[in-house]
């Protein structure tokens, strides 16, 4: 200490003797550093790790679904020009449940398991899965490896036994001998279907032939999607069809794009937007606090200049002080942010079902954190420090008296003077509130920004939830699918006789592909036959019209198809390949439903006529008397059991509530992220307001002393400061509400762009009330500590206060 020049000693003393203020300023800056580290760090880690894990899984360029193929066909595909590797697999859907079940037990209510079999798991070169438990590849006959996301909805461990019902209805016991991670499998939370892996030998136990029904390949080089599509078409025609293999489906995903890519992009964009906003918030906090400190130091600046300090010397002292705050803030905010980021990233990765190998924040995030902690405060402090140290000596020295010399002139003050009958303490606090207008403005901007962001976050949440409602264009309580088409009349009769069922609707649903002008094929599109006037569908038309009675080869597409296939405009006619035959349809409309995959709706008579005129159905929807989801699920199980008893095996059943939950789970990731971000921003607001209030107390110590001297009680001092805090918060709330509307619209626009999914805008009106309550509570809490300090001020100290 004694080696330091006196002016640097002053800097050190000011920092250490105003511990509470130092703590507040450091916290204000640290919260910004923290927010940036969590948000940007989380984003950086997620993007990096997701990309690494996804790339490491070597996703297939093209996959064919075929009727039957053997190893020779696979080898022929692999030899085809432009193909690097090809592998054959067999996948099938079975129903399963936990534990050993009696042979006689009904499988109604069992879950769906997508079983994947392939030879030589250990030598696979694409769509790789990694073992996360004990055990080793390949699973032995009778053994099953489960994809780990199943444990988000259930609880399976190595050694468990599951009962499986084959498509033919036979019961088989499989033992779980491994838990694996497959980034290319849909997480069980999103599709209500678990994924399992078996060896080819196990297929025999499941009554399955030992040949493949899927061929996956990785192309040479890095083809574009169009190039990959052309390759796929060539292989289909020249290799597969030439060998008599029937190709049911060709899938060419956008190269390098995971099925969660849209949601992922949305999350990452939100994080980026919020990161920028928290940066702005902490910038405002720093300006506010530094300005307050300069206001408090103004007389000391005057003294230093009067005894020979040059403006630049004095300025340097304060900038060094701010830099020290910054260093402390980085030391606090960065590690805590890294820990919180670790937790946050781990949580997010779990939701998205991928593993994080390294939680180290990217270097640019660390650099950003340091910049926010050091550069932002210094930049923010520069103007107030410069103004504070340029002030002329007389003015600085004159500022020592009671503050508020300018009171009585401003518009606000005159307006306040007009309001009569206010209780004295309230009038006094209003006067205090408006007294320090500059800082008030900054505090207001900070809090307003926080309010606007929090309310926008709530609006995005409610918009997402509204979208989930919107997406659901069906009006059913439960539905089930059949592996093989069933007679409509028989199924509808059996189902409608079950007690509690009020309405049933059977519908045919067939996979089709659209052939584009350039000869390449679309992703599979489900064509569903519906009665144009059925009350089971409640379509929301975004373009054109819904099906009309008398329509024949008409089709209404959903938004997912319209997005992928720009050729399919309303009024165009298009060829869809249904059950292996090209059929002409006229596109008459587009409905807004998303998140159910590409779907087209056609008149049921027409679908019947092109699929053999038998009136067969593959899907059954029903409505129940009860609106209770549990009761609906129970009724659905009864229907299932009744159908099975009559020889109609159900492949998959779900209630409307289940379906909504899955959709909500996908979008729920966003909702969760938004909630976490909202909490961080609210914390910024709390710390900011506490800081401002505390500085106000420090600054009005003399006034408090005078009030005490003339008889103000503890209670009225509390009342003054709490009223002040609440007034500030209410004003910020009001302007926050105004700003949040356009901000929500902008955020939602960004999300729509990122997800390619039309979102329903639903401003969170209820959020306004919630945040009003929260902001009032925050204001009261943030003012209590300063108010306590104020009530502790003794008259003697106050008058002597420097």
């Amino acid at each position: 200490m004694s080696a330091l020049a006196p002016r640097w000693r002053k800097v050190v003393r000011d920092l250490s003797s105003h511990r509470f203020r130092t703590l507040l300023v450091v916290l204000s800056i640290a919260v910004g550093v923290f927010a940036i580290t969590v948000v940007m760090g989380g984003r950086g880690i997620l993007l990096r790790e997701f990309e690494a894990v996804y790339a490491a899984s070597a996703p297939a360029t093209v996959s064919f679904t075929v009727d039957a193929a053997d190893a020779h066909v696979v080898r022929a595909v692999e030899r085809f020009e432009g193909v690097r590797f090809a592998e054959g697999r067999r996948t099938l859907a079975v129903r399963y449940t936990e534990g050993e079940q009696p042979e006689t037990a009904s499988s109604a209510g069992w879950d769906t398991l997508q079983v994947r079999a392939m030879p030589e798991f250990e030598r696979s070169r694409m769509d790789l899965v990694t073992l996360e438990s004990t055990g080793s590849f390949p699973p032995a006959p009778g053994e099953l490896f489960l994809e780990r996301s199943v444990n988000m909805v259930a609880d399976y461990a190595v050694g468990d036994v599951v009962s499986v019902e084959t498509p033919a209805g036979a019961r088989v016991l499989l033992r779980v001998t491994g838990i694996v991670h497959d980034i290319n499998a849909f997480p069980a939370t999103f599709v209500a279907t678990a994924t399992g892996y078996v060896s080819m030998d196990t297929l025999r136990l499941l009554d399955q032939p030992a040949h493949f029904n899927e061929i996956h390949l990785i192309a040479e080089g890095a083809p574009t999607r169009a190039e990959a599509s052309r390759l796929a078409t060539a292989i289909r025609d020249d290799v597969l069809m030439a060998r008599g293999v029937r190709v049911l489906q060709t899938s060419v995903p956008e190269p390098g794009s995971h099925f969660l890519g849209d949601i992922f992009r949305a999350v990452s964009l939100l994080l980026l937007a919020l990161g920028v906003l928290s940066l702005a918030l902490s910038g405002f906090l720093v300006v506010t606090t530094v300005q307050a400190i300069m206001a408090q130091q103004v007389s000391q600046v005057g003294i230093m200049k009067a005894i020979g300090g040059r403006a630049d010397q004095v300025m340097r002292m304060y900038l060094v002080m701010v830099a020290v705050y910054g260093v402390l803030a980085v030391a606090v905010g960065l590690p805590i942010g890294a820990v919180a980021g670790h937790w946050f990233t781990g949580y997010a990765a779990d939701l998205l079902n991928f593993r994080i190998t390294s939680y180290a924040p990217p270097p640019y995030v660390v650099a950003l954190g340091v910049a926010v902690g050091l550069a932002v405060p210094l930049l923010a402090a520069f103007v107030p420090v410069r103004l504070g140290t340029r002030i002329s000596v007389v003015r600085a020295l004159n500022a020592t008296g009671m503050s508020g010399a300018s009171f009585g002139h401003g518009l606000i003050d005159r307006a306040l003077g007009l309001v009569r009958g206010l209780p004295r303490p309230v009038a006094l606090s209003l006067r205090n509130t408006f007294l320090r207008k500059g800082r008030l403005a900054l505090t207001l901007v900070t809090l307003t920004l926080a309010s606007a962001v929090i309310m926008s976050v709530m609006s995005v949440q409610s918009s997402i939830l509204a979208t989930v409602d919107e997406v659901d264009m069906w009006d059913f309580d439960a539905q089930m699918w059949f592996a093989v088409p069933q007679g409509r009349e028989a199924v509808e009769r059996i189902a409608s006789r079950v007690e509690g069922v009020v309405a049933v609707s059977g519908m045919p649903e067939y996979r089709s592909v659209f052939t584009r002008a350039d000869g390449t094929e679309s992703q599979p599109i489900d064509v569903i036959g519906v009665h144009p006037e059925s009350d089971f569908v409640a379509p929301r038309i975004s373009e054109g019209r819904w099906l009309a009675p008398g329509d024949r080869a008409a089709i209404v597409l959903n938004a997912d198809v319209a997005k992928d296939e720009p050729e399919l405009t309303v009024g165009s006619s298009a060829t869809f390949n249904v059950l292996g035959e090209g059929r002409e349809f006229e596109v008459v409309g587009v409905v807004t439903a998303g998140l159910m995959g590409p779907v087209g709706f056609a008149p049921v008579q027409h679908v019947d006529s092109i699929t053999g005129g038998t009136g067969a159905i593959t899907r059954l929807q029903l409505r129940a008397t009860s609106s209770d989801p549990w009761e609906q699920a129970r009724i659905a199980r009864v229907v299932e059991r009744r159908l099975e008893e009559r020889g109609v095996p159900v492949a998959f059943a779900q209630t409307a509530a289940d379906q909504r939950e899955q959709v909500a789970n996908q979008l729920g990731i966003l909702v969760t992220f938004l909630a976490i971000m909202g909490a961080i921003l609210a914390a910024v607001g709390v710390i900011g307001l506490t800081g401002t209030m505390t500085i106000n107390v420090l600054e009005s110590t003399r006034e408090i002393g005078v009030m005490r001297a003339i008889g103000a009680s503890h209670g009225s001092i509390y009342q003054i400061f709490v009223t002040e805090g609440v007034v500030i918060a209410l004003i910020a709330w009001f302007f926050g509400v105004l700003a949040s509307y356009p901000m929500s619209v902008a955020l939602l626009d960004m999300l729509e762009g990122a997800m390619g999914l039309p979102l329903v805008f639903d401003y969170a009106w209820s959020g306004m009330g919630i945040w009003l309550a929260a902001v009032t509570a925050i204001a009261v809490l943030a003012s209590l500590l300063p108010a306590f300090r104020a009530s502790q001020v003794s008259v003697r100290d106050a008058i002597a206060y420097e």
Binding site: S17, S299, I303, A306, I307, G309, R310, A311, D312, V393
Partner: protein
């Protein structure tokens, strides 16, 4: 005893036709009206007058704490009115020690650190010399034993003596004090005044604003300020003759 800085009869401090107008409020207020003043080296000048007469404004013109609206302020060879803020700060730090009514010690620095601060700002004396010099000054004002206390632990008189030690830090030829005894009881005020007398004896030039008419009669030359003008001037007997010292 002649001061080295004094050349012939020319003044050390010289104000020519100084006008100060404050333009606060609707009507500009003229606080100094064409003031002329010469102070020679080694003089002990008292400025007296009613509250609001313009004493502080006048002394602020001399210290460069405030600027005249019109007129010239020359101290030594320096045209104070023409200096910019930075030049002023450096010039003031070396040339004029300022003493305030409310002491104005920096609250987070100890007494000796407060005294060393002007040396630090003006880069006077080597860092190693500074503590020694500060201690010497504190001895002069009889505060050596309080050197490492914070100002808040000192009485008003002690704080003012510390402030005087600080004003002397860079050994300035001039001391400007605005009601330095205004906040002190008469006994303490007397001690501080005595300190000033010793400093004049040590060839400092002192310009002091005071309320205290008794103290005013003890300075060599007292000037009465009223309504922004110097209206009267009295030369008292030299202190030595009066006190017999």
């Amino acid at each position: 005893m002649p001061n080295e800085r004094q050349t012939g009869s020319s003044a050390l401090v010289s104000l020519r036709d100084v006008v100060k107008v404050y333009d606060t409020g609707e009507v500009p207020f003229t606080a100094l009206r064409h003031v002329d003043l010469d102070v020679r080296s080694g003089e002990f000048v008292g400025l007296i007058g009613k509250s609001g007469s313009g004493k502080t404004t006048l002394i602020n013109m001399i210290t460069g704490i405030d600027r005249p609206t019109a007129g010239e302020v020359v101290v030594g060879d320096t045209p104070v009115h023409a200096l910019n803020e930075n030049q002023l700060a450096m010039w003031r730090g070396r040339t004029i020690g300022v003493v305030f009514q409310f002491f104005q010690l920096l609250p987070t620095l100890t007494v000796i650190e407060n005294v060393m601060l002007p040396m630090d700002f003006c880069a006077m004396y080597s860092p190693a010399e500074r503590p020694e010099r500060a201690m010497h000054l504190l001895e002069q004002v009889e505060l050596a034993d309080q050197a490492h206390k914070l100002p808040s632990a000192l009485s008003g008189g002690q704080q003012q003596r510390a402030a005087i030690a600080r004003a002397l830090a860079n050994d300035p030829p001039i001391l400007a004090a605005d009601e330095p005894t205004g906040n002190l009881d008469s006994k303490t005020a007397d001690a501080v005044f005595h300190l000033f007398e010793e400093l004049v004896e040590a060839h400092k030039t002192i310009i002091m604003v005071t309320h205290d008419t008794d103290l005013a009669t003890r300075v060599r030359r007292s000037l009465v300020v009223s309504d922004g003008e110097i209206t009267d001037e009295t030369i008292h007997r030299p202190r030595a003759e009066r006190t017999g010292l």
